[in-house]
Amino acid sequence: MEFLSYLISGISLGSVYAIIALGYTMVYGIAKMLNFAHGDVIMVGGYISLLSMSSLGLPWPLAVILAMLVCTVLGVVIEGLAYKPLRSAPSLAVLITAIGVSYFLQNAALLLWGASPKAYTPIIAGSVKLFEGQLSISYVSILTVFMCIVIMIALTLFTGKTRMGKAMRACSEDKAAAQLMGINVNRTISMTFAIGSALAAIAGVLLCSSYTSLMPTTGSMPGIKAFTAAVFGGIGSIPGALLGGVLLGIIESLAKAYISTQLANSIVFAVLIITLLVRPAGLLGKYVPEKV
């Protein structure tokens, strides 16, 4: 029973990682860059939702929507101001800019909202009790897993069936060829940042609801872990982000429970290193062989 409870909390944590990892993986797939500021967009989403619930007194669904809107705009603005001018610059320049944007967001949050952690009331309280109260699963956990599944299905349909989604896949494969199809590559990249950032806002709300506290650096560790999850699953792959995220969450949760709380993170990253040694493209990363 104990094991089941750790497993469920791992799946729930992993679902948050998966939602964040989707943002990393989509942006990487299309812009071929690692947006290290992605984790901090999560933090902004957390603050916006917190403030709109506590200061504006909005009900939580509205607070979530507001956080998504703000993060979407933030994501598009970051892309337009910081990354777009570097489109043809070496990838190292873009990477360093992304780290810069990450620090900028953290410090802006520090100025605006202060350094001390703020208490975050979970958007839904309570839990279900199973097996005569031996196993308790919080509603937030259930909501998190549910949201992750809904987002996965929605994104799979979007990239597989819609004109815009297919254009995104075309851009991720070959930008010049996509332009020759009449696809506006810049707009497609902005759109990807918009979607990734909206997902980050959702992840922010879910993350804060399970950890119930929020500070300017809240996003950075989950951000890095979700990035790890994206690489673990195969960067650029949407199912890979899900698999990587959930596995990482489970490994972390079980490592904390049975091995050592202090070593949990080390174990997570060790698993990543071993996986990449064996499968450099990640679990679901694959190369379609090209016939010539």
Binding site: R163, K166, A167, R169, A170, E173, D174, A176, A177, A178, Q179, L180, M181, G182, I183, N184, V185, V288, P289, E290, K291, V292
Partner: protein, 236 residues
């Protein structure tokens, strides 16, 4: 004859390298015009500049009477100028059908299904493989897909960059038959080729490019008979 494309005095640089040195040429409605020349003469660079992927520092490019020299690439496609790029550049991880859908990206509304049927008639092999991932097609099939994909946008001018590259002789014949057929159906074509003999056999007019300049021009038959061309490109 109405000029569909008019390129005037374009100069293109890759950093410090002066790749295109003030070339001018034109393509008339309904013609097949070919740019031939050795590797590195600037043929592909010229096509990429017309498509807006590269920019000229001088001169102008007019398409259907409109200056497109600063128009973004994706808008140029909308105006009816399609390019089949060198090396085919199909979307290898997408299915054959999805590749064709991307070709129809600028085509709003209905009619895409009918256009796809038309492409399938022209290239029956693609129909058999419609759900297959494009990366698993053979080289010849990939070239057909690249051409079919470009035709999905209803181009007023179709630019083909080395369609015969890397293909077996029998497939080269097939590709040129398709070019003849497209020409007969009234498509205007600008063809870039290293295979000068084949290119000249389908072309109404031709330009010979050498190190970023146009060194000769004339009708396909004239150039095929010219000693200079024979010596340089047709093996004596």
């Amino acid at each position: 004859m109405e000029q569909i494309l008019k390129v005037e005095n374009i100069n293109v640089y890759y950093g410090a390298i002066h790749a295109i040195k003030g070339i001018s040429f034109h393509v008339d409605q309904g013609e097949v015009v070919t740019l031939i020349g050795a590797n590195g003469a600037g043929k592909s660079t010229t096509l990429q500049t017309i498509s807006g992927l590269l920019r000229s520092r001088t001169g102008s490019i007019e398409f259907c009477g409109e200056n497109i020299s600063i128009t973004p690439s994706h808008k140029i496609v909308e105006k009816g100028l399609a390019q089949v790029p060198e090396g085919r550049r199909i979307f290898l991880q997408m299915s054959v059908q999805e590749n064709l859908e991307m070709g129809a990206y600028t085509q709003r509304g209905t009619g895409i299904e009918a256009d796809m049927e038309r492409v399938f008639q022209q290239f029956p092999r693609l129909k058999e493989r419609r759900r297959q991932i494009a990366g698993t097609l053979s080289g010849g099939e990939q070239q057909m897909l690249a051409m079919g994909r470009a035709l999905m946008s209803h181009p007023k001018l179709l630019m083909l960059d080395e369609p015969s590259m890397g293909l077996a002789p029998i497939l080269v014949e097939q590709i040129f038959d398709i070019i003849r057929q497209l020409h007969k159906d009234g498509t205007t074509i600008l063809l870039v080729e290293q295979n000068a003999q084949m290119a000249l056999s389908v072309a109404d007019r031709a330009y010979v490019m050498e190190t970023g300049k146009i060194s000769l021009s004339g009708t396909g038959a004239e150039l095929a008979a010219s000693d200079q061309v024979k010596k340089a490109y047709l093996g004596g």
